[in-house]
Each structure stands twice: as C-alpha cells, then as structure tokens.
Symmetry: C2
Subunit: 139 residues, 2 copies
Amino acid sequence: MKDQLHISEQVCFPVYVFAKEIINQYRPLLTELELTYPQYLVMMVLWEYKEQTVNQLGEKLKLDSGTLTPLLKRMEQKDLVCRTRSTIDERLVHISLTLKGEALKEKASCIPAQLMESMNVSLEDLTNLKNIITKILKQ
Amino acid sequence: MKDQLHISEQVCFPVYVFAKEIINQYRPLLTELELTYPQYLVMMVLWEYKEQTVNQLGEKLKLDSGTLTPLLKRMEQKDLVCRTRSTIDERLVHISLTLKGEALKEKASCIPAQLMESMNVSLEDLTNLKNIITKILKQ
DNA sequence: ATCAATTAAATTGCGCACAATTTAATTGTG
DNA sequence: CACAATTAAATTGTGCGCAATTTAATTGAT
C-alpha cells in the first residue's frame, strides 16, 4: 500500500500554504490602512451590518471571544470601532464603526481588485475553488 | 457597480476558514500524538527525508527560522527530533528524528484516512481542490 | 590574505487562534 | 421569589506566523 504520510500526497498542506499566501498577498495592501487581515474581515462585516455583538462577529468570522476581544480592543485603540456594553443586556458588547472606520471603506474599495491582480488567477479557477470549499464547509 | 467589500463575495475568506477548519479537524487526532499541525508537517518531512537543515524544512513547509527555531526546540523537548549544529558549516543546524520520532510514524499512519473520513469530502472534490490550489501556488 | 557581501539560524516583538477557565448577567423552572 | 442552568465576554496560557534585526560563519572578489 502506498505511503500517504508524504507532504506531496497531502491536500491539506496546499490549503494551509494557500491560506497563508493569501494573507501575505493582502499584507502590503492592508498595512497601508493599518489593518491586519482578521481586522479587515471585522471591518467588512461592520461595513455591511453597521453594528454587531462580539458573538455575531464570531459566528460570521468563525472566531471566538478569546480571539476577538483583544483584536477589537486593538481596533478601538486605532479609533476604528466603538465597543459599547449593552444597557438592556449587560452581557452583550456592541461593536460599531467610528467615523474613521466608516471612512476607511472608501480607501479599501480598491483592495479586492488589487488582490485579484496580485494573485493572478483566472476567474474560472477562483469560482471553482470557492464552490468546492463552500460546499465542503456547508456540511 | 457592485459592492465587493462583502464577506459573502470573498473567495479568500472561505479559504481562510477552510484552512482553520482543517487544522481543527486534525487537532484531536494529533493531540493523541502530542503534536500540533505544524509539528506534524515537520514530522512528515523528516519521515520522508530523514535529515533536513532548518532552511530545507523552511523551504518545504514555507516557514522561516523565526517560526521553525522555537517550534523545533519544543519538538526537541518532547524528544521527537535532534538539533545538531553542523561541524562542516557551523551556520547549519541539522534536524533529524529520534527513535521516538521515528516510531511515531507507525502511530500516525492512520491519520490521513481518519481525516478524510472526518472531513466527509468526495475524492473528486478533493482532487479538484488540490489541482486548482497547486496550480495557483505554482505561478 | 583581507574584508565586504552573503548566508543560516536565532532573537525580538506583535498579532492572531484556540482551549480552558472565569466573571457576570440573564433565563428558566419549580 | 429562589436558584440552578445557560449565555456572553473576558481572561489565561500556549503555540504558531512573520517582519525586522542580530549574531556568527562562510564565500567571494580584489
């Protein structure tokens, strides 16, 4: 029987490398906006939904409070988001955009196109990739 | 023009989530062997190549010495690998398996199959996925 | 042979990512 | 109402991942 314990036989390893490579491609673009990739993900959710609790962000981004709490505090330090504990239910912390955070959307608008260019991938491969992965993740 | 700054429109986000999900699927299997996923990758390279310098490992795994040096020290602590500075070229550190590290290959042999099962993906999707990603990474 | 340039690994510092636990508030049940 | 169970966020601790720098050894060009 064939030995499966080789890097070259693995499917997971290319996925792992590819995910890191994507973040590395984003890095120079996001550094200009003083954002990391996970912070950029938070911004995208907030640009779309205006306000989210820590849990809601966590569900959308698949991150827990152990990751999000310190990350959001750093974003608060940079005056990108507000963290406000709910008065109705004091367990909840609402995350919303500051004016600076709202304004950053404009600057970020060119990032998707820039990234597409830097990755140099056909639209076809990209859609196939997305379809397969979302199919796997849905189960 | 359509707003591209939405999580749902992104291709990179599913890749990022998928890569994390893979590592989370590996976690319970690898925890039994007292390995993390990156440590498992190092083991796979060493099971195949017997001995590697830090740089050679880094090239194969796309990791730098800043990541590998402390990781390899932890693996040395667990008596999985030996770190030996070369006498011929003292800049090089050779990483090789201990007997315990060599023996772990046996225990790890079932992991690829177990992971395939826990991921519940068709072989077709998996090969397509791998082909697209390796194609993109090759450029 | 000398010394600048290169190379390899280690170090420093920061930001995730996640398991496990803690703290505090709310809900649900008798 | 009381109080156990649940929920939300924060905290603690460990291990990557990478940029930037440092340390030390080797190479190469004159």
